[in-house]
Structure formats: C-alpha cells, structure tokens
C-alpha cells in the first residue's frame, strides 16, 4: 500500500505540474460544463421547468466521449513519460513486478482521472441546486440522475479507456506503435472476427459502437441552433427535458452491459499483455546475420530492431503470468458473455419469431366473454409477480366452446390451471396461452378458470434493425437470419430487457398480470407485425394485490396504494373494465396533498410537486368541462360521466414511453415527447399525464383531459365489433374534442398524405404509422361529416348507438349500424361519404380547370370545369363572387370525373371558389390548392 500511495502521490504531483495535463484538464472541464452552463444561463427563457435530471442528461450526452479521450491521452502520456525523458531504466529498477508496476500506474491514473470526470457533473448538480429557488421545484434535491449515469456511462468507459491506453501505450512503445495497434484492434480484428463469426450466424458490433457519438453530435447541433435562435423564448430543442422518474441502476447496467463488453475485453487484454512488454529487460532474439552487401540490408536491420522491440520481455515473473492469465481470462469471459447474450437473445427471438409466423393458436370465439375476473397475489421490487387469477367465462353463442386463447407475458409461467368443472389443458407459445377446457362450455353456460402465475415480467428489446422495408420484428429477424454477409447481421447481444417492476417503477400491463382474452387472429399483417387485438369485452374485475410499500401504485380500476396513507402496501379495487385495459402502474410518485373538488388523486414525482400543485386547477376545470363535452344521458357504465365528474380517477405523472430503455441516454429522440402527441391517456379510472406537460410553464388546457375521460367512459357503454372498436373509440374522442372547440377547423386535409393516412374504418390501432390518420385526417373527416349531416344529427346518432337497447347487450355496435342511424337522422345524403371515405378510405382532390370570364350581353358568363384528380365522390359548394354578392350551387364530382359548370350574372364577377370554407372532405395540396380562380387570373 505504501508503494501504491507513492505511485499515486507521484502521479498527482507530476500531473499537477504538467502544463499539458493542466491544458487537458481545463479543456475537459470547460467542455464538460458547457451544456449545464448553457441551461443555467438561459433557464428563464424555457417553456418548462427543468430539474436536476435535465442538467445531468445534457451533461452526459458528451461526457463519456470526452472522458474516454481524456483518459486515453493522459494514460498514454503517463506510460510514455519516463521513456520519452530517458528516465525509464532507473524509474523501473525496483523490486516491483511488471504487473505490480502497471497496476499501480493504472490505479494512480484513475485516482487522478475519476475525480476529474465528476467535476462537470458536480458543476451541473450545483447549478441545478442553485436553480431550485427560481424554478420552484425540488428536482435537484435528488442527485441520483448525476451519480447513476456517471457510474454507468462515465466511470466504466474511463476506466476501460485508461487501461486500454496504458496497455497499448506499453505494448506499442511509442505513439505510432500504439496508434497502429489501436487501429488493428478496432479496425481489423472486429472485421476478421465478424467474418469468422458469420459462419455461426453471429456478429458483434464494433467495440467502439457503444461510445455513441450521436448524442454528443446532437447536443452540439441543438445547442448551436438554440443559441442562434432569435426568438424571445428559447427554442424547445435544447435542453430536452429529462424525466425525473429515475431508473433502476441494476436494470440500466444490464441494458448497457453489452455495449461495453468488447471495449472492456480489449482493455483487459491490452493491459494484461502489457505485462510482457514493459521493456525493463530487452529480450534476446535469434540473430539474423545480414551480408553487408545484401540488397535489403537496411530493411532487414530495421526488421531486426522491430523483432527485438516487439518480442515479449524475457522471464516474466510468476505474478506477471498470473496477471496475464487473469486478464486474458477476463477478456475471454467478457467476449464469452457477449456471445452468450447473443445466443440467448437469439433463442428468445427465435421463439418469438416461431410464434409470430406460426399464427397459432387460434383466437377465442367472440361469443365467449369474461364476466368476472379476480386477481389475487403480490409483486415485489425484485420484479417478481405471483398471482392467482380466477375468471368466469360465459358462452353467449349457440355452439359449445372448448378453446380459450389469451395473451400472456412470456416471462410469466402458468404454474397451475384448473376449472370448476372438467379438465384444463394449457399450451404456451411465446406470449400466447391456449387453454382447452373439457367438457366444452355449453351455450349460455359459464365456466370458472383458476390459474396460478409466477415470473418476472419484462419487455424484451431485440436489437434488430427495423424501419424502411423491415416493418416488423418477424421480418427483421428473418432478414437477420438469412443474411449472407456478416455486416448484414445484427448484434443480438445488444438486446436487453426492461423489467416491469423495479424499486423505482411499476409498469404492469394487463398481460404482465393476467391472461388477456384474445379474439383476433395472431396472423401477420400485410405490412408486417402481428395484428393487434381489437375486441375488448368488459368484465367485472377485482384486484387484490400486495405491492411494494414504498411505491405509489394505482390500477386502472382506480385502486391506489399510497405509501404515505392508510392504503400502503395494498391494492384493492373493483370495477367494470375490459381486461386489456387492466394496468397497474406507479413508482416514486407522491400524492399531492391538495385534491380537486371531485377528490381526484394526483401523483407526481417528488421533484415536480410544485409544478403539480400549480396545475391542480386543470383537474377542476376538466371536471366542469365534462358536462359540456357530452351532456350525460344516463349511466355510462364506468361509474362516472359528465355528471359524476372525475370520480375515482387517479392521475399519475408519467414519463414518455421508452425512458427506461437503453436508448434513453443514448438517443436524443427518446428523451422528449413529440409535442403533437396527446399528453393525457386515460385507461379506465387511471389517467397518465405527460411529464413534459406537467412541467410546462403555460397553464394546461383542461379540454384534452376532459375529452379523454369522457370518450373513455362513453366507450364503455356498449361493446363494439372487434374490427371496428378502435374506430369508435377514435370517433368518440374526436367528437368530444370537437364539442370542446378542439376539433379540426375544416373538413379538408392538407396534402400530400402518407400512405398510412389513407386508412379507413378498419385501421387497426394507434401506432406510429397510423398516428397521422387518427390525429389529422380523421378529425377533418369527422368535421366534414358533421357539416354534411349536421352536428346534432351526428351526436344523436352516437347516443342512439350507445343507448341501452333490447339487444345491445348481446350484439356489438358496428359501423353498418352507425351508418344506418346516421343516414336516418341526417339532414342530407351522407351515403357517399360513408361509403367512399370511411369504408374505402378514398380521398378526392378537386381542381378548377379552364375557367373563363366572358362578357355576354349586358352581363357576364363564367364557365369552367371541376376535375377530381383522385378518387372518392365529393359534394362541394361552388361559389361565384360578384360585385353585388355571391352566387353558388352544389356540385357533385365522382372519381376522376370532370364536371363542367356555368354561371350567368349581370354583375361583374370577381372569382370562382370551390368549397371556399373547406367544408367537404378533400385533399388540398400544400402550396398549390388550385381551387380558386380570380377574374384577373389564377392566384395561388
């Protein structure tokens, strides 16, 4: 230890006096502090309140890269310093072994480096603490966002980079040699290795791939763009607000492990091999006698010197050999672990692939619906779930049913399955559970199932490239499996799992807790991917769970386990709910002490308490708006509508999806929520309020919260046809938003549109590809329908559809039924709209052509044509404006049709306008509408 202390003292003293070190260190600290300093200086121009996590995250975007560079430079300098100054022979003439010397140098360097790498984060933390007063949130009181990522992303990379530089610097003997070795290690070895691995269907990403340059590059770009911005408000691009949800260090370490394994292995191997190349004793190599007149004499002499230089040191000490074996073992272990991860995840992916492409088992008949559903059990912060599920099914059909199908997290095992009558046979395939009951459930009869489930539910993220023509997991896996060249393969070792439960977060979806009935076939869709479930029958659900006592946990029935209240550690609730809507979520959120007049429970992250209290008015406002959004006509089935206000609602602050994924820190795109995304999601009696919106400095508009709650509750009044349930849920949401003044302004949509926006009633689900349809084109379509049919007719048609009718309990609502009601109640013909736009997904594009204004007699004659460039029948107003007012009539144009028109007027015309108020559903091409012609000519 005394010797180690001497090494450390020596290193600190030498570096403190070194101008080069001081320049490096100051440059490192300054660059490392730039993001935090920029945030601090301009924080008051942000549109949101940020906390410590944002400071930490912005700093960490480039700190790992900077740290690696610093570690490499200083370590290389450290090992070459004595050689360069000619002090090597005497400096190493001591009793220490080579490994003793190298390890002590290594530790001494780390003693210097690691505290240095903490400085930018300490500065960022200090600035965050300084901001607390002004910001009004206590975000910086929690330092976890600083030390967690530092331990995870900065320390390991710095240690490995230092070891690698020390190793390569020692082996290389000089800067050129070290550089060549590094090029060999990171250029040639991975390529050659991957060529060999390709025979086994494997490939590893570059050891440097984990040192992602993208965040660093993006931070620079965004910071520069933000600084250049002329607006008073600082652009939203920088800083991107980071979640205060916190993350589980263990899970995060597992997720990031594979990224550093190769680099770590390289570092261990380099440092291990360096014990043979310390060159305290020049080796004796076999002499090569070269004739004085040999034509290659100079080359051979140089080669001889290289041989001497790169021959391992003679007579390594036993300790050196042990260290070398350990280092190589460590390196082999790391590579082996990476290989094992790749193989393990490939097997998992194979299971999923087989299930997804097999299309089995068959789904359950829609006649079999769950009536009651009870979930008893517990889950713990270790991630384990143990539950007993008791569910009663009723066969409402006319034939006996013996086959039941469910979705269930593949990490959840069915340890026991029984029924109140007969036998039960269980079949599993990935996330699919098939249960055969014998005897079958007769028509009109019920059957109770009891299942015991246990496991550690996690979300699997396979590192397969997706996007472009590879739209689904199965296609990506297929492409990877069939790849012929190494570089076409994915490195599956980079896959990872996100546990549904940790000490900081609970994110249990329905199938993480219970089998969820599956009514839609598991077939692959045309564009890839498995078809989503679209039928959601409602059951009476009871939840009785023992949950972690120190976490705030809520379920979609409105149950709540408050660590600070009487309900600590237990979740007991019941409600009517579709099983797919069952969810249990929570984490470090804490309930706000104040409540709204409806007694809604609001849980926010501790750092956002003040922001949450600031927005409490939102909830009261939403409650009032619910009556306005959809006047209550009766029971909505959910226990609350406009009349009953927010009721048992639990609102949780919730970060964007994927914040607990590996990419979170590595990919900028994962760190912020799309500003156009809906900021509130309601699932039963549980609502999720976007974290980014909660910290907005602008008041939150209550309309969207009200709309989500009302449409969610309206949807529970009657079940919908499986294929069309999403359409109805979007219809209700859109109508409510429209009533609250947040609907589409016009019936027209601005094009060009992406293919995904050409979807129709049967667009299966909200996912990124159909996002544009449901949030852009669909509201326009409903606006156009409302204008055509009449707003009141449209609303009353929905009421009639949802009203409890004599056979409504038995038959699901369909689009056909809705269309017939609407046609009956509509003031005008809506048949073409329903047919072309809702069922066929058509979208007309109308243009005026050959418009001429000609004096005729004492007046004017205006003629022209309306041409439909696309498909779908459009019925629109055509208006001629004159000096004394407009003249108009309705024009009907079918697919690809051209309809001539003619106006005769005694007054001087001004222009012809096709659908001037954009009431009809059509595409208006961006920048080139071609739907108006003025007397003087065409104006764009």
């Amino acid at each position: 230890m005394r010797l180690l202390a001497a090494f450390i003292r020596h290193e600190l003293r030498i570096e403190r006096r070194s101008l080069r070190f001081r320049a490096f260190a100051v440059g490192y600290v300054l660059l490392g502090c730039v993001p935090a300093a920029a945030i601090h200086l301009r924080r008051e121009r942000l549109d949101y309140v940020i906390g410590g996590a944002t400071y930490a995250s912005a700093t960490l975007t480039w700190l790992p890269l900077l740290s690696v560079l610093l570690a490499a430079l200083l370590s290389m300098d450290g090992i070459s310093r004595e050689r360069a100054t000619g002090a090597w022979t005497t400096a190493t003439l001591s009793g220490v072994t080579n490994v003793g010397y190298l390890l002590r140098r290594f530790v001494a360097l780390l003693t210097l480096l690691l505290p240095l790498t903490a400085i930018p984060l300490l500065v960022a933390a200090g600035l965050a603490v300084a901001d607390v007063g002004g910001a009004g949130v206590g975000a910086a009181s929690n330092l976890a966002p600083f030390y967690g990522p530092w331990l995870l992303h900065v320390v390991p990379w710095t240690v490995a980079a230092s070891a690698l530089a020390l190793g390569l610097g020692t082996i290389g003997g000089n800067a050129v040699g070290s550089f060549l070795l590094a090029a060999l290690l990171f250029g040639v070895v991975p390529v050659a290795g991957n060529e060999a691995l390709n025979r086994f269907g494997m490939r590893f990403d570059s050891p440097l791939a984990g040192l992602d340059l993208l965040p660093a590059r993006w931070t620079v770009i965004l910071l520069a763009a933000s600084l250049k911005a002329q607006d008073d408000r600082w652009t939203w691009m920088f800083p991107l607000p980071e979640t205060e949800a916190g993350f589980d260090l263990g899970s995060a370490a597992e997720q990031n492990l594979a990224e550093g394994l190769q680099f770590g292995a390289s570092a261990a191997a380099a440092l291990g091999l360096a014990v043979l190349f310390l060159r305290r004793t020049r080796p004796d190599v076999r002499p090569q006698r070269i004739r004085p007149d040999h034509p290659l004499r100079n080359f051979l002499v140089a080669f001889g010197r290289l041989r001497e230089q790169y021959t391992p040191d003679p007579k390594p000490a036993p300790a050196d050999l042990v260290a070398l074996a350990c280092a190589l073992g460590l390196a082999a272990g790391a590579v082996g672990l990476e290989g094992a991860r790749a193989v393990g995840y490939e097997r998992l992916a194979e299971r999923r692939y087989r299930a997804e492409t097999g299309g089995k088992p068959a789904p359950m008949a829609v006649a079999v619906v769950p009536e009651t559903w009870r979930i008893d059990g517990r889950f713990e912060t270790s991630g384990t779930v143990q539950v007993e599920v008791r569910g009663t099914f009723k066969n409402g059909g006319r034939v006996p049913q013996k086959h039941l199908a469910f979705s269930l997290n593949p990490d959840l095992a069915v340890t026991a399955a029984t029924a109140d009558r007969g036998r039960v046979t269980v079949g599993r395939e990935w996330d699919r559970l098939a249960i055969e009951v014998d005897p079958p459930i007769p028509p009109g009869a019920r059957r109770e199932l009891r299942l015991r489930l246990a496991g550690l539910p996690r979300a699997n993220h396979f590192s397969l490239p997706q996007g472009g023509d590879v739209a689904s997991f199965a296609r990506a896996f297929e492409k990877n499996r069939n790849a012929r060249l190494g570089h076409d393969r994915a490195d599956l070792s980079r896959s990872y799992r996100v546990p549904a439960i940790s000490g900081l977060r609970v994110d249990l979806s329905a199938d993480d807790l219970t089998p969820v009935p599956r009514y839609t076939t598991w077939a692959q869709k045309g564009d890839g991917g498995v078809a989503e479930e679209v039928y959601f029958p409602v059951a009476r659900v009871e939840i009785a769970l023992t949950v972690p006592r120190d976490l705030l946990v809520a379920d979609s029935c409105g149950g709540l386990s408050d660590p600070a209240g009487r309900t600590r550690g237990r979740l007991d609730s019941r409600c009517s709910l579709s099983l797919s809507e069952l969810t249990v979520r929570g984490g470090r959120q804490r309930l706000l002490a104040q409540s709204t007049q409806d007694g809604v429970a609001v849980g926010v992250f501790p750092a956002h308490r003040a922001a949450g209290e600031l927005h409490l008015g939102l909830f009261a406002g939403s409650s009032k708006l619910m009556e306005e959004a959809w006047p209550a006509q009766g029971d909505d089935g959910g226990g609350a509508s406009g009349k009953s206000g927010l009721g048992r609602l639990v609102i949780l602050e919730w970060p964007g999806e994927g914040v607990h994924d590996r990419q979170h820190l590595n990919l900028i795109s994962g760190r912020y929520r799309d500003p156009y995304e809906s900021w509130v999601t309601v699932i039963g009696n549980l609502a999720f309020l976007g974290e980014t919106d909660l910290i907005a400095t602008a008041p939150l508009p209550p309309e969207r919260l009200a709309a989500e709650i009302v449409s969610s509750r309206l949807a529970r009044r009657r079940r919908f046809a499986p294929d069309e349930s999403l359409f109805f849920r979007q219809l209700l949401r859109t109508l409510v938003l429209e009533r609250l003044g947040l609907g589409a302004q016009t019936g027209a949509v601005v094009g060009p549109l992406s293919p995904q926006q050409m979807a129709s009633v049967r667009t299966p689900a909200v996912h990124p590809e159909s996002y544009g349809y449901w949030n852009s084109r669909f509201p326009s379509l409903i606006a156009a329908l409302g204008r055509r049919a009449g707003a009141e007719a449209l609303r009353s048609s929905v009421e009639e559809l949802l009203a409890p009718g004599p056979d409504h309990a038995q038959t699901p609502a369909t689009f056909e039924e809705f269309a017939s009601i609407l046609k009956r109640r509509s003031e005008r013909d809506v048949e073409p709209m329903l047919r072309d736009f809702f069922l066929a997904g058509k979208l007309p594009e109308l243009v005026l052509e050959e418009v001429s204004f000609e004096p005729a007699g004492g007046g004017w004659r205006v003629t022209g044509k309306v041409h439909n460039l696309a498909d779908g029948e459009a019925i629109c107003r055509l208006v001629l404006t004159t000096e004394l007012g407009p003249v108009e009539f309705e024009i009907r144009i079918g697919t690809n049709e051209t309809t001539p028109f003619a106006f005769a007027t005694a007054h001087r015309p001004q222009g012809v306008f096709l659908d001037p108020d954009q009431e009809c559903h059509r595409m208006v091409r961006m920048g080139l509408p071609r739907d108006r012609v003025y007397l003087q000519g065409v104006r764009r």
Partner: protein, 300 residues
C-alpha cells in the same frame, strides 16, 4: 557476491557484443575500462538486467537471474547510474530521491527517509538545489543526482557508467570519496574513460575489449607490465620492429608526445615512466585494440 559466467550477447542484426565474459564481483570498487565498442555498455546492461544475454549465467548473492522469481529481488539489490541518465521530469531533486526510495522499497519511516534524502543531497552537493526541478539542473548536477538515486536504497551492487563525465575536478573528488564510502559495503562497478578515476579509487581493474574480458587484476599489476617498456619516440618516424604505438598526443602549442611500447630499449628513445593510462594503452595496443582516451570522450 555476484558471479557472471560465460556472458555472451549477439544482437538481432548479428553483431556480437560479448563473447563469453566471466567475472566475480564482491564488496569493493572495480574499475571497468575498455575502448569504444568493446561491449562495456552491453555488459553493464546485462549486469543490471536491462538486457538479456544470449548465453551465460548471472548469480547475485545466490539469486540466479535465469529464474524469473529472483528478478524482483535482484533488481531491488542493484543501483544503477546509466550513461544517458535523466531524472524524472516535473520533480524537484528532493522529491525525485524520495520517489526513488519509495519505488525501491527503502524500509524507512517517512521522517527517516527525508533525513536520508537530505544527507545524500548534501553528500552530492545538491543540498541548496534540493527544491529546484531536477530537469532544470545542469549536466553535472544531474549526474550527481543520478549518483544519489543509485545509492539511496543501499544497493548490494552499484553500477555506475561514466559517473564523472561533466563534473568539475572538485566534484570528481567529492564523487570519489562518496563512492569509496559506498564501496566499503557494496560491490561497485565503475565504468569510465577517465583512467585517473580508476587509478584513484579502484583496487581492482577489469578491461573489456572486443567483447572479451582482457584483464582482471590490480592497476599495479597492469602498471608493472608496462614499466620499463615505454619510450618517447619522435613523431613522423617509422616504428622500429616489435614496437607498438601507445599514445600520440599533441598539445595546444603543437608539441607532440608519442609514446611507444617496446620489449627492448629503443636506441635514441628516452624511457618514459608508466602511468596507468599509458599502461592501459600499452595493454590494449599489444592486443591490437585501439584505446579510447579521455580526449575522445565518447561512449564505449
């Protein structure tokens, strides 16, 4: 006791630097002389384990250098001042010596170590410069610091290569005294071109030439061999049969002194009293090896 047997060294390009050197070293000073290219530096490098011999055996107080396990202990027992010695950059003389002491495992308390450092710095005449950066020392001061670092851990074997190069006469005397004290407890091998240093301090002399050990004895014996055989001989005249030229020196005034060795007296040539330098020169000349005098001042 250090025993060296049959040390040979052939470099990668075929250059044969040592051709079987046997030597035993015990406490006391041993002077090492040899002309340029004789293999002295190779020999010293092999002795301090900085170079692996092609063949031969090295045993240090019973520790065989061929055994890897023995090497740390052997290194710990050696003090070395290389010819191209440089101190560590960034440290003062005092810090540097302290660091060397710790590196070599000097088992002294901090205070005792500081005291020893002070004494050593004083002994080499660097007490006043102790807190200056060693890299800023003059060449002579750096050599003196080099001597201090080589003996700070009281080595069993001290190898010094050209220790007095660049030292003024006063410093050389001080050095000789210091080394003489060290040699009471330690085997000291002093490699130098300055025969006078050897003459003044070394009771034993070793001469290496053409990779071989040519002489191992006392300086007196070497002198005795030359005594009565050296003559002043006019410059420009052909040497008589059997005579070999030992030295040829020209001073600033252009006066030339040419000394030759001859078994028998040379008519007309006055005898010259033999100093160790001339004896050494004659010894080499008789074996057909060119001597490297101090005027050449280059590395062997």
């Amino acid at each position: 006791m250090i025993e060296l047997e049959g040390l040979t060294k052939t470099y990668a390009d075929g250059t044969q630097a040592l051709r079987g050197v046997d030597l035993r070293l015990d406490r006391g000073m041993v002077g090492l002389l040899g002309p340029n290219g004789a293999g002295k530096t190779t020999f010293l490098s092999i002795l301090v384990l900085a170079l692996e011999p092609s063949a031969g055996r090295r045993v240090y107080d019973g520790l065989d250098a061929a055994r890897a396990r023995s090497r740390p202990a052997i290194r710990r027992s050696i003090g070395y001042l290389p010819q191209d010695y440089r101190p560590l950059a960034g440290l003062t003389g005092r810090e540097y010596l302290l660091h060397c002491a710790r590196l070599r495992g000097v088992p002294l308390s901090r205070r005792a170590l500081e005291e020893r450092t002070r004494e050593l710095l004083s002994a080499v005449g660097l007490a006043e410069a102790a807190d200056r950066r060693a890299i800023e020392y003059s060449g002579g001061m750096q050599r003196r610091l080099g001597v201090a670092q080589a003996i700070i851990h009281s080595p069993r074997l001290l190898v010094v290569d050209e220790p007095t190069a660049g030292l003024d006469p006063e410093e050389r005397i001080r050095f000789r005294t210091l080394i003489g004290e060290v040699a009471e407890q330690t085997a000291v091998l002093l490699s130098t071109h300055i025969v006078e240093d050897v003459e003044a301090t070394c009771p034993r002399l070793v001469v290496i030439g053409q990779g071989r050990l040519l002489y191992d004895g006392t300086p007196t014996e070497l002198l005795r061999g030359a005594s009565g055989h050296l003559f002043r001989f006019p410059a420009g005249e052909p040497l008589p049969p059997g005579a070999v030229e030992v030295t040829y020196r020209a001073d600033r005034d252009g006066a030339v002194e040419r000394v030759v060795w001859s078994e028998t007296p040379i008519p007309g040539a006055p005898p010259r009293p033999a100093g160790l330098e001339e004896a050494y020169g004659a010894f080499l000349a008789l074996r057909g090896v060119a001597a490297a005098g101090p005027q050449e001042g280059a590395a062997a």
